[in-house]
Subunit: 136 residues, 6 copies
Amino acid sequence: MSTVAPPENPESDPRVKAVFDDIRAVRGSDYVNNVWRYLAFNPALLEDVWTSVRDLMAKPTLLDFKTKEMIYVAVSIANSCHYCVHSHTAAAKARGMTDDEHAELLQIVSTAARTNHLLNGLQPPVDDVFLAEPKA
Amino acid sequence: MSTVAPPENPESDPRVKAVFDDIRAVRGSDYVNNVWRYLAFNPALLEDVWTSVRDLMAKPTLLDFKTKEMIYVAVSIANSCHYCVHSHTAAAKARGMTDDEHAELLQIVSTAARTNHLLNGLQPPVDDVFLAEPKA
Amino acid sequence: MSTVAPPENPESDPRVKAVFDDIRAVRGSDYVNNVWRYLAFNPALLEDVWTSVRDLMAKPTLLDFKTKEMIYVAVSIANSCHYCVHSHTAAAKARGMTDDEHAELLQIVSTAARTNHLLNGLQPPVDDVFLAEPKA
Amino acid sequence: MSTVAPPENPESDPRVKAVFDDIRAVRGSDYVNNVWRYLAFNPALLEDVWTSVRDLMAKPTLLDFKTKEMIYVAVSIANSCHYCVHSHTAAAKARGMTDDEHAELLQIVSTAARTNHLLNGLQPPVDDVFLAEPKA
Amino acid sequence: MSTVAPPENPESDPRVKAVFDDIRAVRGSDYVNNVWRYLAFNPALLEDVWTSVRDLMAKPTLLDFKTKEMIYVAVSIANSCHYCVHSHTAAAKARGMTDDEHAELLQIVSTAARTNHLLNGLQPPVDDVFLAEPKA
Amino acid sequence: MSTVAPPENPESDPRVKAVFDDIRAVRGSDYVNNVWRYLAFNPALLEDVWTSVRDLMAKPTLLDFKTKEMIYVAVSIANSCHYCVHSHTAAAKARGMTDDEHAELLQIVSTAARTNHLLNGLQPPVDDVFLAEPKA
């Protein structure tokens, strides 16, 4: 299925084991999902990706957890990432997204895509009132 | 700038005038921004787009207005719609998005894009636990 | 504006001159638009791109010229190519696309984008009836 | 497979039943394909999407049915929507697209994508002659 | 699986046979992979695509073979082409890409995607120093 | 031009000054380009982005500097990031990319995009020989 072969015993590498332990601790679950098992083919990349995703998505920040996951799903849909759509939709549900909110998220994403394409076809000039700084 | 020439006196067409009046009433502002002025080249398209965007984004729904605009910005960034990024970032700010929330939105969008590309490159199988229904 | 500096006297290179002459002959116009003037920084690339676009878009094939240009515009919108949207919308109009057909094209492109995003978010299984060959 | 669980007896909901009946009537076929069965998880979204797709794609408009489906396929390819490519290629064939026309469609879509990327890399200025209105 | 039915005995068509023979000769292998077997539904398209890919990717040019395949993978990831990611990752490995280089490629692609989205969200003006020609 | 207003005296913030000093030291140049000046609206985001880009692109790694920048350009083209295409094309030239190599890069990127779209339209099954691990 994948372009890399995941290591058979990933936790025999102490750097991988440390990341997997952290994943389990942060999530309060023994399950380590495939993205991390496959990324274990390169421990440095695994550490870098896990750290940045964890600090943003699993720690308290300005936006609440459910909103953050819904934004993540929106981007993943627009970028056609099959795996990411599945994993972050599941995460959004785990953070409290209801089926009706899921439907509304899909409605916003698809309506935005519609006007994105419409305006990329029309190419109207950006109104001066939208600019955060005066035009040069 | 554009691929269409906007009508010089768009409100001389009663269908266009009705939409522009509704835009002003919904927003409590006399300003009608360029997307609607250019879409006026085809009144039926103008009506259809305005109605669907208004019902979703300018009326109360499950998600709050600021969250909806932030999701809209996220999709518009991923689809590289220059105009939409500007207009919906301005709308999100008008709905209360602070500069720090804007920075966090950009952090989420760009981190999602990073992992979207990483996983499109790795192609790991989707974990069964993420599926909303059992595999066939 | 550009990432390459177009040659000042492109037709002093005989390979470039041959392409520009062909462009003028095929179109019945003296005007050579910017894409070809900038591509002249590399004559081999210029020849290759011009030949493939000309054979497909400027010669009679199965589909009529207007339909071909409208499909080209649709893809260019989805890929956010500012220059291509402008040049091929102009070409579609030159091939007979009316303003109302332009509006319908934008309606189809934007509706397709809407359902593309909706289904990338839903990920339903493809129906067997759509497959051109039996499943393995 | 999907991010939502489709209802087991979707037509027990009268709003879903009304849409499914309309799908069958419009198409003259008993088969209701997966996109509608999965969208049935939210009847309001189902109604909205079906109505807009039906009015554009299943009713007579300016462009003929085959051309409309081919444009729809083109956009779906560019947006990497697996399901949409399959369903609208099947629809285009049902509307009369031959294998040779299918090959020409793919030739146009892939050639457009080639020049889209080439010009996004070159970034030449848009020629004034392509603009529908004079530059400001 | 596919939108076209590949011919059962593709090499009974002499144009297809000529391409398949060339593929085998260029690669020094009897195996002809699926993209060519499915493209055989239209011999003219098969010839055109094979010729252009072969001349660029299988013949000596300025850039070395491994670098060319890594660039090809990068674009295929960004365009969400499942098949292309698999086939060109395999090709890059066949040209000498190690697992650590693969990880670095994924790191570059995903970091580029991150800043692409960040800057499409920020929309800063392009610095004059980056332009290959003076501004008009 | 932008969606954020860059601070007028960014280096009055010590975190911003530290990043700008590092940019100047790493590059051996006094010039700080716009992406960093605009990101200075949020010092934490500025630090995070600069650090990750610097460690990957400005420090010695497995791949040489020119190759890394060419891959970065390829992704930026596919993601339609106007600013990124300009800044990384300039960086690739500064790392030694010649005009002919630039043309070859554009040839690879655009050919890949062509086959990406072709195969997203065809959807052939991935050959087993391309998989890094046996199918489940």
